[in-house]
């Protein structure tokens, strides 16, 4: 390669531009037509590009379709349940809708060059893999006053595919007992409430508060989001709520597979963002997982739902070109414009920026994370995000930071506290009153950090002091987890008098009569 000379002296001293593609401008696949697009230094024509993308889609999905792997190299595809597609209106999920329809639900089998169905009409490929398909969309406008409701626009898109049933959900369903009863079959699931500090944020101890009633689901979700300490926490909470709503809807509807339209680019961003928020333990689940609600003791294990991202080998650029050349309608996702960016948005800006100088960044991130697995066996399922939970999280947090001198493990070190700081030290034995019920041991590291980790920037949207408690999503209080002691049944505790009074208050004719 020639080196740079002095442009002032030599006419052709400028470094020749590095070529964007390998050897030829012709399509590397058919070698007949001139190329129309360069994907990672490979040139493709328009006609060859679409089959390439569809092949990547099928290679990512089809190995997971059958319940058992089997021995055949090309088995007949037959899923054990229905199909559910998570649809956001974005580029990836719009393409997913189109590809799933064309590949598995359209009446027309794929044709060969002569126009006949490839493999013949009776070819196993052309038989239906899933009996039916639902498309789940979660509308988030309820969480943000003034935001436009896009449900009907989304319905219009889904109706273009007559084989699909549209199942619209709302983000506030996460706080709606009637929705929970429908998907879980549980009646009267108690709502879990957490205490708030004077600043209106969830306290570090995650203390469970007395039951409060009278909030609509919309009021409940707005109160919940306003009690979160950072913009990162709000983004993460919305993501978790959306995912768990769809998981439960898919599972209760008899689906065996749930597909999301995350492209390679958005998958890499979500992996790096998850790691940055302490979600390294569940990195496998971020890629692909087999999920089931935790079964109540004595009941049959639930059917497993396979959560797959079949566009995980397709970059955002390929998705955009596919949508353009195949006339796929894309509504787009509503992006919140905020002055303070959370970790998810920062990660997206960073990865997209780095990809310009280092083009293999997104694929490297995804490939690297595919080689990782959690170190220890899980100690249960996080109540909030429904993902596997690592053990001894609070012990780890307590080990690396000293937040209070009353911690037992500091007993040996207290002698070294400087003299000026010893006068108000409380070294008395802990009170005999049992500690308040806390959610701490029932959450994964990432969810605990979401609820408690603060920033100096702050994100408080409503005035502090309006409410002293905040609700949590309805599934947190699911009685199916009563064995671990959060909501009675398992652990016994003395009920304080005030809590008894709260329960019977509506039935007391006159409080004074009772006291007399």
């Amino acid at each position: 390669m020639s080196s740079c000379g002095n442009p002032a002296v030599e006419e052709q001293a400028l470094m020749p531009r590095r070529s964007k593609f390998g050897k030829s401008k012709d399509c590397v696949r058919c070698r007949l037509k001139p190329g129309n697009i360069v994907i990672r230094h490979a040139v493709y024509c328009k006609e060859c590009f679409t089959p390439i993308v569809e092949l990547k889609f099928r290679k990512a999905l089809e190995p997971s379709v059958n319940a058992r792997a089997g021995t055949s190299k090309r088995p007949k595809l037959k899923a054990s349940g229905n199909l559910c597609l998570g649809f956001s209106g974005g580029l990836g999920s719009s393409i997913l809708l189109d590809m799933v329809h064309n590949t598995y639900f359209s009446n027309q089998p794929p044709l060969d060059d002569s126009g006949k169905p490839r493999g013949g009409i009776n070819h196993p490929r052309n038989a239906s893999v899933w009996p039916s398909c639902i498309v789940c969309y979660v509308e988030v406008c309820g969480a943000f006053p003034g935001m436009q409701d896009k449900t009907e626009d989304i319905r219009t898109i889904v109706e273009q595919y007559p084989s699909f049933d549209f199942v619209p959900l709302r983000i506030e369903d996460a706080f709606d007992e009637s929705w929970w009863t429908k998907v879980s079959g549980s009646n009267s699931t108690p709502q879990v409430w957490l205490e708030l500090s004077k600043e209106g944020l969830i306290t570090d101890g995650l203390h469970v508060a007395s039951k409060v009633t009278g909030l609509t689901p919309v009021e409940a979700i707005r109160l919940y989001l306003s009690s979160l300490p950072t913009q990162t926490a709000i983004s993460s909470a919305l993501q978790n709520l959306t995912r768990v709503l769809i998981l439960h809807t898919a599972h209760s509807g008899g689906s065996s597979h749930l597909l999301f339209g995350s492209s390679l680019t958005s998958l890499s961003i979500s992996l790096l963002s998850a790691i940055s928020q302490g979600g390294g333990y569940a990195i496998r689940e971020e890629l692909q997982e087999e999920w089931a609600p935790v079964a109540t003791s004595g009941s049959k294990p639930s059917n497993v739902l396979r959560v797959i991202r079949p566009l995980r080998d397709v970059t955002a650029k390929e998705c955009a070109v596919y949508a353009w050349w195949n006339n796929v309608s894309v509504i787009g996702r509503d992006k919140q414009r905020r002055a303070i960016l959370g970790i998810a948005a920062l990660t997206k800006n960073f990865v997209v920026g780095l990809e310009k100088d280092y083009p293999s960044t997104v694929s490297t991130i995804a490939r690297t994370c595919e080689k990782l697995e959690p170190k220890d066996a899980p100690s249960g399922q996080c109540r909030l995000c429904k993902r596997p939970m690592q053990s001894a999280i609070q012990e780890w947090k307590g080990r690396i930071s000293i937040r209070s001198y009353s911690d037992d493990k500091l007993a040996a070190d207290l002698a070294h506290i400087p003299l000026p700081c010893r006068s108000n030290l409380d070294t008395s034995t802990p009170s005999q009153v049992p500690p308040l019920l806390a959610l701490t041991d029932f959450l994964c590291y990432s969810c605990h950090t979401t609820l408690t980790s603060r920033s100096s920037r702050g994100v408080k949207q409503t005035a502090p002091g309006i409410s002293s408690v905040t609700p949590l999503p309805i599934w947190v209080g699911d009685r199916g987890l009563h064995g671990d002691g959060l909501m009675g049944g398992g652990a016994r505790r003395k009920i304080p008098e005030q809590e008894m009074l709260d329960t019977v208050a509506n039935f007391l004719i006159d409080k004074q009569d009772d006291e007399e």
Binding site: T364, T368, Q390, C421, N424
Partner: protein, 353 residues
Amino acid sequence: MAPTSCSLCRDAKAILKRPKTGQQICKDCFFFVFETEVHHTITESELFKPGDRVAIGASGGKDSTVLAYVMKTLNERYNYGLDLFLLSIDEGITGYRDDSLETVKRNQQQYDMPLKILSYDELYGWTMDAIVEQIGKKNNCTFCGVFRRQALDRGAASLNVDHIVTGHNADDIAETVLMNIMRGDIARLGRCTLICTQGEDTIKRSKPFKYAYEKEIVMYAYFKKLDYFSTECIYSPDAYRGHARTFLKDLEAARPSAIIDIIHSGEAFEVKEEIKAAQKAQQTCKRCGYMSSNDLCKACTLLEGLERGMASSVITDRARKKMDAIGPAPDNIRTIPLFRSTPTIAVELPSQS
């Protein structure tokens, strides 16, 4: 507005906000919690035993200066029973390393510790200035990092120490986790969050500041009025690590716990067994005897590249094979002397009868 009391002792006036926890505390409590957290990191990982000879990797920067101070303080306070040494590496960067070495020499006087300085020039025959002159400003951190690692081991072996401690802090570890994911360095990703690492033939190496925030180290040095050299390496702005560092700073601004959260993520996962099995087994370098995953260790490979005028081409394994295809190394090139770590000789005590 009334002054805020310290969140810990509830007595003195709070004069700083801890970057790690956000608590508002007084100066004395800050010194106490900072030092005690490092002490807990050391004891819970069982890093040392009484009688150990420990070399502190000292660059004259804030991390190693504070590390030397804190190690001396904790050694006396908790009777670790350690013999502490300062070990410094002169990479030969004019205007940067010569100034920071003066700081290390001052540290030696202030902390009353023996000091050994080892230079790239005496060990390899090349300074970083000469290397950068040959290869430019891309990939020079690869050379420096590889050379420094071996230099530290060689310096420690000459001091006959059992253990090397370095001032890598929480920010460094978090940056390394992010960087290894972005670059796909699965081998390093699997071990970068370990607090203590040891190869078959190399000296144990630990990071007592693994959970200490960089900002808190600076704060500690400021309030303790510790003497350190504050300029960044002049060749670092073009390094790939700079991207990870900028990203991490943005994450920290969005949520200060992000640094610890990334370290927690790194500790929570490991490389899958089938991937580990496919990785190259460790062997010994045929030229200098240091640990290596190929016939020649990376330092010998890089040095050969420099000597043959093909330094830029030996960064990757593929480039190395290309160089080998050209022909064997000439006999008259400079090579790294044979490495021998301190041999472990079992001493049998004489019987009492």
